[in-house]
Amino acid sequence: LSSRAVYSNHWALKVSGGAREAARLASRYGYVNLGQIGSLDGYYHFYHSKTFKRSALKSRGTHTFLSMDPKVEWVQQQEVKKRVKR
């Protein structure tokens, strides 16, 4: 059996319009903007405190509205990956 996905309360987004637009989106839809993802231009890290930290189901509701915002080019709820030390 393949292991089922575990969804976290973190989102990755590609936003057109830079940091200011990312801040506006976070505020409008109730997220905390944790900033740009590393050195990937236009990619931002959002966090939602009122969503389950780990869930077997993808979140919907307001998260759907976020994905529909015209300034959001791509959005992905983050899955928890199993990583092991070698």
Binding site: S2, S8, H10, A12, L34, I37, G38, S39, L40, Y43, H45, R54, Q76, Q78, E79, V80, K81, K82, R83, V84, K85, R86
Partner: protein
């Protein structure tokens, strides 16, 4: 093997005497200093001004062996969101991993503490990212922290090595890799060193780990003190090189720093190997800070050596380099790396050529391999895509399969180098298959890209499976990475001129060939005074290896571009030219040959078959021949067969005027004739038959003209109680029985003309002549109104009585 220590150094560090993989202080053990780290140190390279970070569970920054080299700018805590990578301490010391890896790279030397790091003057940092939920964001952030400050990212983790996981970087981590190699190190490219995997015991294969299988990572495997395969080693074609780590219980492990300011001599696993390579790369970067991420991979390929490493699959690729699925190009050589780095000229731009993209669906049947070949010019017409000299080769596959672990995949290059992209994984029962999975091989590094590539997919079922459930190849794409020009020049004009003059025109062929490949090494190097390899000839050598001879006792093998070495006999696929004392490559597919032409093969390599009449080797046999796997020959099919498979008698297509019966081709006979299996001649059918299977009158297939088929015989007229009827699809009529109680009928069964005794003829049917006792007027009225006497089912229903009654 060396028993002496030419570059002896001593340090005050307590565990320095136990660092068996660096020097030989223990006279009871064989020296294992083949990584030549001391020699690199001796040349002055200790990792100065090079920055390494460890992506792991944190680094104990105040460890006495690390504090002096600790670099806060090379550190970050992704789990905690701050700059301090200090591990979380617990009773089990779970988070010791990063600190152990850091010590291997950059433990400070001569401080009377634990050990000496491979790059003991390099800057070391830690990125704490494994002590929490790992997501694509966490990985992408970690792989892209301060890419202009950090030179080397050393990573010793990955997806589960349980033999059933197929997982790799998500879109953000992939983007981080691409960004790192394009923009990191101010455009030279970040260097990612990766532990190849720890799932040997679970039958895992590292091509199922998308990180270690990536072209952007330097995938490192491990060997034990005695050159054996450790229990945890995963094989795959993307492993670039190997280093010592731990092994069996009677072989020594790696010594390094440990959590809580301690030291350990029990570090084990592939993570003991990757940081060693990270340290050696740090030495090379000190020797030449302008090396790009690809230059580093070229240097590793060029300098790593099989030494004494035991693997069943060592082979020489088309560029003359020995490579294995266990160890890549072999044990890393620190001195070789710094020497090559010093004079390395940046490799030409990387070109990417999509050689083929095939979306034709093909079923993968159990025990019947699917083989596809594609001929490519390696984008020769496109100046920015042309790949003449190979680096990485990627095959992107989409496969549906009921049990993924049963699959095995191989790729053969135009030079005949066969690498295994996937081995059987007994624990992988998944039915998810592979969706656009990229399998990567480094085994063709340096070879020419142009020519025929062959992909083979085997489905070797280990357990019972529903036979109807077959795998299906949906798509495959071959992507070639490399350069249009040679990645390094093999000829130094200054040296070539002087050396050639010195040697004169009559320099023997083997020496000339070897000479050319070593011209580049002569620059800046001291004369070698040690013993030469036994295969070296009277001209001496530049070093102890068989690839460092100036001429050979027996034969030289390889090419000027890729380097040559001396061998006692030529390997399969080569012709021993005793005059020139060279191994000449036979034509592709030939195992032994009389010359280099296509039609001079005397035997063929595995998977190729000798056409004895043409003396050629092919992967498929021509029409009229079949491939004999045992003999590796194309043998003739039976004279009646046009094509056959497996043996001469197993025909799959027949010549004209023969037709296939099972696996035999039998002669087709004229009409009214049949093939006699006794005489194997066509003989006449019985006169009543048009076609037949034998001479008897009951062996007709079709009847002759004006004959009807009656009880499997052909008769001129049907017997009494039968009538002749047309049958769709038959050229003649067949006799059918008349209706029950009817003695004779005409044209159809319902048209009876004579009934059995006790029955009367009524509207072509035979009805009983018995009368009903209770058929009163009302009853007969009901029979009349409902027309029961006209309906076959009710014809016996007192019709006779009612008719008689009027």
């Amino acid at each position: 093997h060396t028993w002496t220590e030419p570059h002896f150094m001593n340090f005050s560090d307590l565990m320095w005497p136990s660092m068996w993989y660096l020097h030989c202080s223990d006279k009871n053990h064989r020296c294992r200093s083949e990584m030549n780290v001391l020699a690199a140190w001796h040349r002055g390279y200790t990792g100065k001004n090079v920055v390494v970070t460890i992506l792991d569970d944190g680094v104990e920054k105040n460890h006495p062996d690390l504090v002096q080299n600790y670099d806060p700018l090379a550190s970050y805590d992704v789990n905690g969101g701050d700059d301090d990578p200090t591990p979380r301490y617990d009773i089990s010391n779970e988070n010791k991993h990063g600190t152990r890896c850091a010590g291997q790279v950059a433990a400070y030397a001569n401080n009377s503490h634990c050990v000496v790091g491979i790059a003991y003057n390099a800057k070391i940092g830690g990125i704490r990212m494994l002590d929490g939920d790992v997501t694509d964001i966490v990985e992408a952030k970690s792989l892209g922290i301060r890419p202009d400050h950090i030179d080397i990212y050393s990573v010793s983790w990955g997806p589960d090595d349980d033999g059933r996981t197929v997982d790799g970087p998500g879109p953000l981590a992939k983007a981080a890799f691409e960004q790192g190699i394009r923009k990191g190190r101010n455009g030279l490219g970040s260097i990612y060193v990766w532990a190849s995997g720890n799932g040997g015991r679970e039958g895992d294969y590292c091509s199922c780990d998308g990180y270690t299988n990536s072209i952007y990572t330097i995938s490192v495997s491990s060997t034990t003190e005695n050159g054996n395969k450790p229990w945890y080693l995963e094989e795959c074609a993307s492993t670039l090189a190997t280093t010592y780590s731990s092994g069996a219980f009677y072989e020594r492990k790696i010594v390094t720093t440990d959590l809580r300011q301690r030291c350990t001599d029990a570090h084990t696993g592939t993570s003991a190997s990757a940081p060693i390579v990270a340290g050696i790369i740090a030495l090379a970067l000190e020797a030449n800070p302008h090396l790009t991420w690809r230059d580093v991979q070229h240097l590793i390929v060029k300098t790593s050596r099989p030494t004494h490493l035991k693997a069943p699959d060592w082979k020489i690729n088309g560029a003359g380099r020995r490579v294995s699925h266990l160890y890549g190009f072999g044990l890393v050589d620190a001195e070789g790396m710094v020497l090559e780095a010093r004079k390395w000229k940046t490799a030409p731009a990387q070109h990417v050529c999509t050689a083929t993209s095939d979306r034709k669906h093909r079923f993968i049947r159990a025990a019947q391999p699917v083989q596809m070949s594609t001929l490519t010019d390696a984008c020769a017409d496109s100046f920015d895509q042309h790949v003449a000299y190979l680096e990485h080769v990627v095959v992107k596959l989409s496969i549906q399969h009921p049990r993924r672990g049963d699959l095995q995949i191989y790729l053969t290059s135009p030079s005949g180098t066969k690498s295994q992209l996937l081995a059987r994984r007994a624990y992988d029962l998944s039915s998810e298959g592979y969706e656009n999975w990229e399998f990567m091989t480094v085994h063709c590094w340096g070879e020419k890209a142009q020519g025929e590539w062959t992909l083979e997919i085997h489905d070797n079922s280990s357990l019972l499976r529903i036979p109807e459930m077959q795998g299906k190849l949906k798509e495959w794409t071959l992507i070639l990475y490399g350069t249009a020009k040679p990645p390094f020049s093999t000829l130094n004009p200054h040296h070539s001129q002087s050396k050639v003059q010195e040697s004169g025109m009559d320099m023997e062929a083997s020496r000339a060939a070897l000479y050319q490949s070593h011209l580049e090494l002569t620059e800046e190097e001291e004369d070698y005074l040690g013993p030469c390899h036994p295969e070296c000839g009277d001209q001496g050598c530049d070093g102890p290896g068989a690839d460092q001879c100036l001429n050979c006792v027996h034969f030289s093998l390889g090419s000027a571009k890729s380097g040559r070495k001396c061998v006692s006999m030529c390997p399969p696929g080569f012709l021993a030219d005793t005059v020139a004392r060279r191994c000449k490559r036979c034509h592709k597919g030939c195992e032994a040959c009389l010359g280099r032409s296509q039609n001079q093969c005397t035997s063929c390599k595995k998977g190729w078959f000798l056409h004895q009449e043409a003396n050629t080797c092919g992967t498929v046999c021509p029409a009229g021949f079949y491939a004999d796997e045992g003999l590796k020959h194309c043998l003739k099919c039976h004279q009646n067969c046009k094509q056959c498979i497996g043996s001469a008698e197993k025909c799959t297509a027949c010549k004209d005027r023969f037709s296939l019966a099972g696996a035999m081709c039998i002669q087709e006979c004229d009409q009214s004739m049949y093939l006699s299996l006794e005489t194997m001649k066509c003989e006449a059918c019985h006169p009543t038959c048009q076609t037949c299977t034998g001479p008897g009158k009951d062996e007709c297939i079709y009847c002759a003209k004006d004959f009807h088929l009656h009880e499997w015989k052909c008769v001129p007229a049907c017997s009494e109680g039968f009538y002749a009827e047309e049958v769709p699809g038959l050229p003649h009529k067949a006799c059918r029985r008349c209706e029950e109680n009817c003695l004779s009928c005409e044209g159809s069964g319902r048209n009876c003309v004579r009934c059995r005794e006790g029955f009367n003829l009524l509207s072509g049917s035979c009805v009983t002549n018995h009368t009903c006792v209770n058929a009163d007027e009302t009853f007969c009225e009901m029979v009349k109104i409902n027309l029961l006497c006209e309906r076959k089912l009710f014809i016996h229903f007192c019709c006779q009585t009612c008719l008689l009654a009027g």
